[in-house]
């Protein structure tokens, strides 16, 4: 049995080195009041005493490398699972032989059979044959247990979900009333004095919107409370004007969903805070899908005010004719889990089927399948100049009025220096788009390289370069 699990395989499964190090710390016997396996040694389970009152319950199936842990970590597998595997590898004598406890039996009975053996299991865990890690999206989707096949229970659950949905709809609408009233108050008092009214001004409404189960809008307000103080005083009025206008648009669109197209309905619900389950999206035959080779254009990590780390992976389809040819994978992991990064390396090429969330302007997506491709893909051909790119932004903004930013593509560009700490993207017609000041250091080596073919995100005020094809190679944001 221990032959199935090797340290190499465990290292491959681990989402990062930090997880392995954390697992090592957990290998002390005192941490594990329960550690056992079945007669064959195929199935092992344990209870790990964490910081909470109840221990985390961990189950690992060595045969197909399936696993389950009750801890809240969003790393897959988490350190507890890795610790059980590692201990079984190193110290199998520490495992007692025993009967399955109820919780192990329940997990066993709910598991979907894995038909592909080890390879399929590793793929489900986010590792391909080549050792390449898949998106957390894939891992999550595959790790989702199947529902019990009981029609009565299913009907009860559906009724319960419908009731909760109705309650939430009413709560969101009440929250939108509060939002409108609050915005009107701000207009009556004057936006010029908004910042002086203090953070509490936003905090109260943010809390109210969280209570009203509209976390998307609460998040936008929290971001505004941070951005307002990052913005120079003379530009704060414009920032507020635009952001509050967008909130009013969302609020109005939510109330008038019946008049919107299904895709725009999905957009407004998502931006308000409704989420769509990953497995539902992956199973949705009507969801837009696009297969082919994708360049991992950029990976970004950002800590949100809600203490979640937002991991963005930007994919660029290698065929310029593909539509949509940019996809954004977003994963969230708790900051408390330590450093974490996208499972992809910026610059690599993957062959994947991408499923887009329904939207008037599809962008956010999940990976349905993916395999790494050994050769670097050719950079796709873009239209020359920034004029056409800005037209594409206008179109996207017209189609979905509350987008924050939009990925644009253009070739025949250069990077120019506006001032020592500020760069701009420039085309041959003299159109200049200021680049995000946070990127100045990273983009300084692009000065003097000509021409560039670039993928960047534009929010109406600043461009954030995601990737560029240059005469000395590709530049990627990472």
């Amino acid at each position: 049995m221990t032959g199935t699990l090797t340290k190499d395989k465990i290292e491959q499964l681990a989402p990062d080195q930090a997880s392995l190090a954390a697992a090592l710390k957990l290998m002390k016997p005192a941490k594990w009041p329960t550690l056992a396996h079945d007669e064959s040694g195929e199935l092992m389970w344990g209870e790990c005493q964490g910081s909470g009152a109840a221990p985390y319950r961990v189950i690992v199936s060595a045969g197909d490398l399936g696993y389950k842990c009750t801890c809240p970590s969003r790393k897959f597998p988490c350190k507890h699972v890795l610790a059980v595997m590692w201990t079984h590898c190193d110290r199998p004598e520490r495992f007692e032989r025993g009967q399955f406890p109820d919780w192990v039996q329940e997990w066993q009975s709910r598991r979907r059979p894995k038909t592909g053996g080890l390879a399929a299991a590793m793929a489900a865990a986010g590792v391909t044959e080549g050792g390449q890690k898949a998106s957390l999206s894939v891992a999550l989707a595959e790790a989702e247990p199947e529902k019990p096949n009981d029609p009565k229970a299913a009907a009860r659950a559906e009724a319960q979900r419908a009731r909760l949905r109705e309650e939430r709809e009413a709560a969101v609408l009440a929250g939108l009333d509060d939002l409108d009233r609050w915005i009107l108050d701000q207009l009556n008092l004057g936006l010029a004095a908004f910042a002086q009214r203090g953070a509490q001004n936003i905090k109260t409404l943010t809390t109210r919107l969280v209570d009203a189960k509209a976390p998307g809008l609460a998040g936008r307000l929290e971001a505004l409370s941070v951005d307002i103080f990052r913005t120079p005083e003379q530009a704060r009025g414009d920032l507020l004007f635009e952001r509050l206008a967008t909130l009013v648009l969302i609020s109005s669109a939510y109330r008038n969903q019946a008049k919107l197209s299904p895709s725009l309905q999905a957009d407004v619900r998502r931006v308000t805070g409704w989420s769509q389950r990953r497995d539902e999206l992956l199973a949705d035959p009507n969801a837009p899908r696009l297969s082919g080779d994708w360049i991992v254009a950029a990976t970004r990590s950002e800590i949100q005010p809600d203490k979640l780390r937002r991991l963005e992976t930007w994919l660029l389809h290698t065929s310029p004719a593909a539509t949509p040819n940019v996809a954004l994978l977003i994963d969230f992991v708790p900051v408390s889990g330590g450093p974490s990064s996208s499972p992809f390396i910026a610059g690599e090429t993957i062959s994947a089927e991408v499923v887009f969330y329904p939207s008037a302007t599809p962008l956010r997506a999940l990976l349905a399948t993916q395999v790494p491709t050994p050769t670097a893909a050719v950079w796709p051909e873009f239209s020359p100049g920034l004029g056409a790119a800005l037209d594409a932004y206008d179109l996207a903004l017209a189609q979905q009025p509350w987008i924050d930013s939009w990925p644009l593509r253009a070739k025949a560009l250069t990077v120019e220096r506006l001032s020592p700490h500020h760069l701009a993207l420039v085309d041959s017609d003299g159109i200049r788009l200021p680049l995000d000041r946070a990127q100045t250091d990273a983009l300084t080596p692009l000065l003097g390289l000509d021409p560039l073919s670039a993928l960047f995100v534009w929010d109406g005020h600043a461009a954030m370069l995601l990737a560029a094809d240059t005469p000395i190679g590709r530049w990627h944001e990472a």
Partner: protein
């Protein structure tokens, strides 16, 4: 899209003005184009709708940026005109992995070692990696070529400084305007060529330097130190900064040709005595006379290290050997491995004189100490790798890998049961950084028995070495 652009800029400005000041003070007057769109709702909704539409119109505005005065500074072009080829992608990627995976406390010096190997191979760093790596390299002139200097110049505070840094043509007229590392290297080189002129240069700017800089520059006088320097040294021996006073006192004591120095050298030489071996071989004239270390007796054992530090400060092993009429190897081999103070004094002097052979001799003799003080092994290897410009010779590397002390360190990692005990304390990564590429394979074999987390950094350095070696082979001679 056409409708929301209906507001003229003056309408938009008036609307914004009212909202900034507050509708309580300046009641909303809905512009005609919005009224013609059917905006005849109650006043409360009117304000929100006017905000939404006007704010959305503003999001379609495009930025108008005037051309920059110096869009692509000449310095930026220099960054890409360095005639050295950019390091190929395989070693470049391995180098960046190193920067990611190596323990924080080692990463700066390790990146410097890797950058020196790239430079020695005739390549330059990829310009896109400079923003990430420059914080580690900026104080290491051995890593700075034309491209690296150009990047430093681009990010330098003042334009005049930037140009000088880029040109790299530091001269007696301009040397005070360069970064610290450049100035030190310049003064040291000047001392090697013309000690008197170099001292005069220092005297000219000494009073206006900050204390830390005065100390560092003063220490550069150790190269080519002579009685000619005494008047200047005595003039700064009463400096207001303690560091400067200490440095001046140490240098005064190290001036060759003075009575004090000669007496000190003679005292130091007397510590090494040739002892006739007893026995039959010696009686028939075949026994070698061994050199033994006999430090001056000290009444206060606690003061012994201080006494020895003063005695050997600024003396090279060769100086002492010449005075004792033995070889430098005799001196070094006679030292007990725990004589930290004397080893440190000899090593510092060898580094300042760029005396590679003595550095290697000292390191070899010093390795034995790690038997009793395991933590010393990593320190010895680190200081050797940091200070040597090139990897160690193959025979030295083979001896290191075959040594008992290195095997003991490896065994400790194998047997370690706690995370702290299996964590590389620097022994493995610094071994990899020291060895020539010819020994990459034997090192890799020896690391195979370790946990992946323990050897990750060292294995990454091996990957870098091999990738760089392959690139050198592919290109031809370096």
């Amino acid at each position: 899209l056409i409708a929301v652009r209906a507001l003229s800029s003056s309408d938009l400005d008036r609307l914004k003005q009212a909202m900034l000041l507050g509708l309580n003070r300046q009641p909303l007057k809905v512009p005609e184009p919005l009224l013609s769109l059917g905006l005849r709702a109650p006043a409360l909704e009117q304000a929100l709708t006017a905000l939404a539409l006007a704010g959305q119109q503003e999001r379609f505005e495009r930025p108008l940026l005037a051309p920059a005065a110096d869009p692509v500074p000449a310095v930026a072009r220099r960054l890409h005109q360095d005639p050295r080829p950019i390091v190929p992608s395989a070693p470049q990627r391995a180098m960046m992995r190193l920067a990611n995976v190596v323990e924080k406390s080692h990463v700066g010096p390790i990146v410097c070692v890797a950058a020196r190997r790239i430079a020695r191979a005739g390549f330059r760093l990829h310009p896109f990696d400079l923003p990430r790596l420059m914080s580690h390299l900026r104080d290491e002139p051995r890593c700075l070529g034309a491209a690296e200097r150009a990047y430093l110049g681009l990010t330098a505070a003042g334009a005049a400084t930037a140009q000088k840094v880029v040109d790299g043509d530091i001269s007696p007229e301009s040397w005070t305007e360069f970064p610290r590392a450049d100035r030190l290297a310049f003064l040291q080189n000047a001392r090697r060529k013309d000690p008197v002129a170099a001292r005069a240069l220092l005297e000219g700017s000494f009073a206006s330097e900050p204390a830390a800089m005065r100390t560092d520059l003063l220490r550069a006088l150790e190269i080519g130190l002579s009685v000619d320097d005494l008047p200047f040294l005595e003039s700064v021996a009463g400096d207001r900064a303690e560091g400067v006073r200490d440095a001046a006192a140490a240098l005064i004591a190290a001036v060759p040709g003075t009575d004090g120095f000669s007496a000190r050298l003679a005292d130091a030489a007397r510590c090494f005595v040739r002892e006739k071996r007893s026995g039959i071989l010696s009686r028939i004239g075949l026994g070698d006379a061994a050199v033994a270390f006999k430090p001056p007796p000290s009444a206060n054992p606690a003061a012994r290290p201080m006494v020895l530090a003063r005695l050997f400060a600024g003396l090279s092993a060769a100086d002492v050997a010449a005075a004792a009429e033995i070889t430098a190897a005799d001196v070094i081999n006679a030292l007990p491995p725990d004589e930290d103070v004397i080893f440190a004094a000899f090593f510092d002097k060898a580094v300042r004189d760029d005396d590679r052979d003595t550095m290697l001799l000292l390191a070899k003799a010093r390795l034995a100490i790690a038997d009793t003080r395991p933590a010393m092994l990593a320190t010895i290897l680190a200081s050797l790798a940091r200070d040597l410009s090139d990897p160690v010779p193959v025979d030295f590397g083979e001896a290191l890998l075959a040594s008992d002390v290195w095997h003991s360190a490896l065994q400790r990692f194998v047997e370690g049961e706690t995370p702290a005990k299996v964590k590389d304390d620097g022994t493995l990564i610094w071994t990899a950084a020291l060895l020539p590429a010819a020994l990459a394979a034997p090192l890799h074999d020896r690391l195979s028995s370790l946990l992946p987390t323990t050897s990750h950094g060292a294995r990454t350095f091996i990957d870098f070495m091999l990738a760089l070696e392959a690139s050198i082979q592919q290109r031809g001679s370096p």
